[in-house]
């Protein structure tokens, strides 16, 4: 009998009865650990708690039976999901309009105008440059903002305010004063940089442009850093030159394209000469925009490398 009463006193119904009769507050029945005393309420406690949450090591987690079972089911399921997904995509691909057929819906007036009138309307011999930097320039501006956002996020994640520790680990892991590398780089670096500029500046005339030329420039900069170390590279490329270059290139891009969009939508004449197609100074804004994109891409690639290597210029 007594045990039944004990059970009843522990039950929710008993608590509800007490509360309804007004004999107790709902919060009196909170579990012990939920109650607070003022001395508990210190910042140290919170800090300790968050530390203990963080220090829960992966080893202890992975050893539990639940985890092992869970990971087995997880692996099996992910394989099944992937197979279903791949199969359905492959079957879909079979039903798509066949590749290269002239009856495809994608062969319509849009590519026709790009190919037939591209040179006349944009002044660029390279149709792709005309497409991405003139016809659909808003998308490409978005792409350059993607690069900008990516480089900023890498800065947020990896930039260290104190480089001394990073410098130490860098010395251990990376080769220093490698004679062969230095000799090769002193020949290759100027060639790569000149080739990069060539690809950028000829973007509107032949295959290439800001994105590919910028990648070449960036790899040249990384080679320079690898061969000659941070001290020398720092004189040419540092955080200040990065910020100034990327900022001014993006601002120029933003304002130039903003001007072009504004005048285009309001049917105002821009007075930007398209020049003689085939000349190096032709095709209106495409050449300067290619240079801007090239600089942004080059510095993005270089900054990625520097940040992942030691977290600072």
């Amino acid at each position: 009998m007594a045990r039944i009463r004990d059970n009843y006193e522990r039950s929710a119904a008993y608590r509800a009865e007490k509360v309804i009769k007004g004999e107790a507050e709902p919060l009196d029945f909170l579990p012990e650990e939920d109650r607070t005393t003022e001395d508990k309420l210190t910042i140290e406690k919170t800090v300790k708690e968050s530390e203990s949450e963080l220090s829960l090591s992966p080893e202890t987690l992975t050893e539990t039976v639940e985890f092992k079972l869970y990971s087995r089911i997880y692996k099996a399921l992910s394989v099944v999901v992937c197979i279903i997904f791949i199969t359905s995509l492959v079957i879909t691909a079979i039903h798509l309009p066949s590749l290269g057929s002239d009856l495809n819906p994608a062969n319509n007036e849009v590519p026709e105008r790009y190919v037939e009138k591209g040179v006349e309307e944009t002044g660029a011999i390279n149709t792709v440059a005309g497409m991405i930097l003139d016809y659909r320039a808003f998308d490409t501006f978005g792409e350059s903002c993607v690069l900008f956002a990516a480089v900023i996020c890498v800065l947020i994640l990896l930039k260290e305010s104190d480089l001394s520790a990073a410098e130490h680990s860098d010395r251990q892991n990376e080769p220093k004063n490698d004679g062969i590398l230095k000799a090769a780089a002193s020949i290759l670096f100027p060639v790569i940089i000149i080739f990069g500029f060539y690809v950028i500046l000829n973007g509107h005339l032949s295959a290439g442009g800001g994105f590919s030329g910028g990648a070449i420039l960036g790899s040249g900069m990384i080679l320079y850093l690898l061969a000659f170390g941070f001290e020398k590279a720092h004189k040419l490329f540092n955080y200040k030159t990065f910020a100034v270059t990327v900022c001014s290139a993006q601002i120029f891009y933003c304002i130039a394209k903003g001007f072009s969009f504004f005048t285009g939508a309001n049917e105002i004449e821009t007075h930007i000469p398209l020049g003689n197609p085939g000349d190096i100074l032709s095709s209106g804004l495409i050449l300067p925009l290619n240079i801007c994109v090239g600089l942004v891409v080059a510095y993005t690639i270089y900054t990625f490398y520097v940040m992942f290597r030691r977290g600072g210029f």
Binding site: T46, A137, C145, C153
Partner: protein
């Protein structure tokens, strides 16, 4: 002929991008001021555009460059777009101002300007998602949105936020990838990237060949990709860590605006690219319906089991996203209206909860555990009021925005008899569950730790609390006005949706 105010959507996107770029070489204070000023300007511009469209009663397209679409890019605005842009600008402004103290405490001082840089760029991408009329532009800005969101998450550098940001990145990129495959299939079927032309192309393809596998697959992939990105059940598990450990402004922006940006893109694709009749034929809505309902229940149950106020609010987001998809799944005008209203209601309520919960936690020595939060509303009155208002709105108390959503979804469900009963039952269950965890929290924060002692008033660590109070008051006022003028708001949404089609 262009009218002068029709330039404003384009200018607002470019203003946000420009202020973001400029912030790279500025100090924290300058970057903050530029962020606040440009958000204010965008708000004014959006309100003017809204008034312009409201008076002229016609949507307009804006050519981006010298070539008309489909050769060039264009943006387009009806009534709904500037309305959403203005509400989002207000929320963004309030979220940044309300969390300023935490931004300064949580973030390394040398990276503070980068925070405002990323928020500016994030908002620019949201504006572009709202206004775009070209599906590839939509994809590009979707990417910017994902990357900048990771930026504002991991800028608070404790281990958990980095982990949460990585998890968010993986899930979100999976969503982007699936979405990209979806729009590629659509391009293959229709041959265009401009929304109107795609719709004609898809309609033509369905007319000649019927609902072929690629058509169904493209609809499924686009819906799947975007619902993964905004955290529909069962893809909601990243939310608790992501919202729980980021700096409060980031949590507010992410839950209030970013996930809504994805949903708005999905809405535009349903209305402008596929057409809601075709969506109904593909039966994707029945799948969304099941997962929406499941999300409502599972989100609420997870929230009840949490012992951390931020993670509780985060799980309740999963439930709220579920409501939006239930609205979508009805496939009727009324259903979409309810969904858009829920977007607005959730966008004004969730940031309010995050911002006031951050203040409550400050008043309790920085702890987020419920046991420590007891009496915190007595220590910080304004935060208590804010949290209570937000909680009541989430539960669905009349005159607050959350109530109207439930009414709208309930009445919309009468039009589709097969879905009516499950919706009404789940609405009832979810209201009870919401009441359990939100009202329990409200009772706790107003219950003093010691009944005999008076709770000490919390002073805001030397930061001015007047800005914070103003932010809370604005949020509550916004919530109340959406609730009170719900007829006006639903009218705008209805007209906006009919302009969208």
């Amino acid at each position: 002929m262009m009218l002068w105010w029709q330039n404003l959507p384009f200018l607002s996107i470019f203003l946000m991008i420009l202020s973001s770029i400029v912030s790279l070489s500025l100090s924290f204070k300058a970057a903050r001021n530029i962020c606040v000023i440009s958000l204010g300007t965008v708000l004014t511009m959006s309100v003017i555009t809204f008034c312009g469209v409201y008076v002229s009663k016609e949507s307009f397209v804006y050519k981006m460059g010298h070539f008309p679409a489909p050769w060039g890019n264009e943006i387009r605005s009806g009534l709904l777009e500037p309305f959403l842009a203005s509400i989002f600008a207000i929320i963004m402004l309030l979220a940044v101002l309300g969390g300023m103290k935490h931004i300064r405490n949580d973030i390394e001082s040398k990276k503070l300007n980068l925070y405002f840089l990323t928020t500016d760029l994030l908002f620019a991408s949201i504006l572009a998602l709202i206004y775009t009329n070209d599906i590839f532009t939509g994809y590009v800005f979707l990417e910017i949105c994902t990357i900048t969101t990771c930026g504002i998450l991991m800028i608070r550098q404790i281990g958990r936020t980095t982990l949460a940001a990585v998890r968010y990145m993986i899930i979100s990129l999976l969503g982007s990838g699936i979405f990209l495959i979806g729009i590629t299939l659509m391009y293959d079927i229709s041959g265009y990237l401009l929304m109107e032309n795609m719709r004609e192309g898809i309609a033509k393809a369905i007319e000649t060949d019927g609902m072929t596998l690629p058509t169904v697959m493209s609809i499924v992939l686009v819906s799947l990709g975007l619902s993964i990105k905004c955290g529909l059940f069962p893809f909601h598990f990243w939310m608790s860590d992501t919202y729980g450990y980021a700096t409060p402004s980031s949590s507010a922006i992410l839950s209030g605006i970013v996930s809504k940006g994805y949903i708005i893109l999905l809405l535009k694709i349903y209305y402008r690219v596929i057409g809601i009749e075709t969506v109904a034929q593909s039966h994707i809505q029945d799948i969304l319906f099941v997962f929406g309902l499941a999300g409502i229940i599972v989100g609420s149950v997870n929230a009840i089991r949490e012992n951390d106020i931020f993670r509780m609010i985060a799980f309740s987001s999963a439930a709220q996203i579920g409501y939006i998809f239930v609205g979508f799944s009805l496939g009727t005008q009324a259903g979409f209206t309810a969904a858009v209203f829920q977007i607005l209601s959730h966008a004004v309520t969730k940031p309010l909860l995050f911002i006031s919960a951050s203040m409550l936690s400050d008043a309790s020595g920085g702890s987020k555990k419920f046991s420590d939060l007891m009496g915190s509303a007595l220590r910080s009155k304004i935060a208590g009021i804010g949290f209570t208002a937000g909680a009541l709105s989430m539960v669905g108390i009349p005159f607050l925005s959350g109530f109207v959503t439930k009414i709208l979804i309930g009445t919309a469900s009468f039009e589709s008899p097969s879905k009516m009963m499950p919706i009404l039952v789940v609405l009832a269950i979810s209201t009870v569950l919401n009441a359990v965890y939100y009202l329990r929290t409200v009772v706790r924060i107003y219950h003093p730790r010691d009944l005999n002692k008076k709770e000490p008033k919390y002073s805001n660590d030397g930061y001015s609390s007047s800005v914070f109070s103003a932010v809370i008051v604005c949020f509550v006022a916004l919530n109340l006005s959406i609730g009170f003028f719900s007829d006006f708001v639903t009218d705008i949404i209805r007209t906006g949706l009919s302009m969208l089609a």
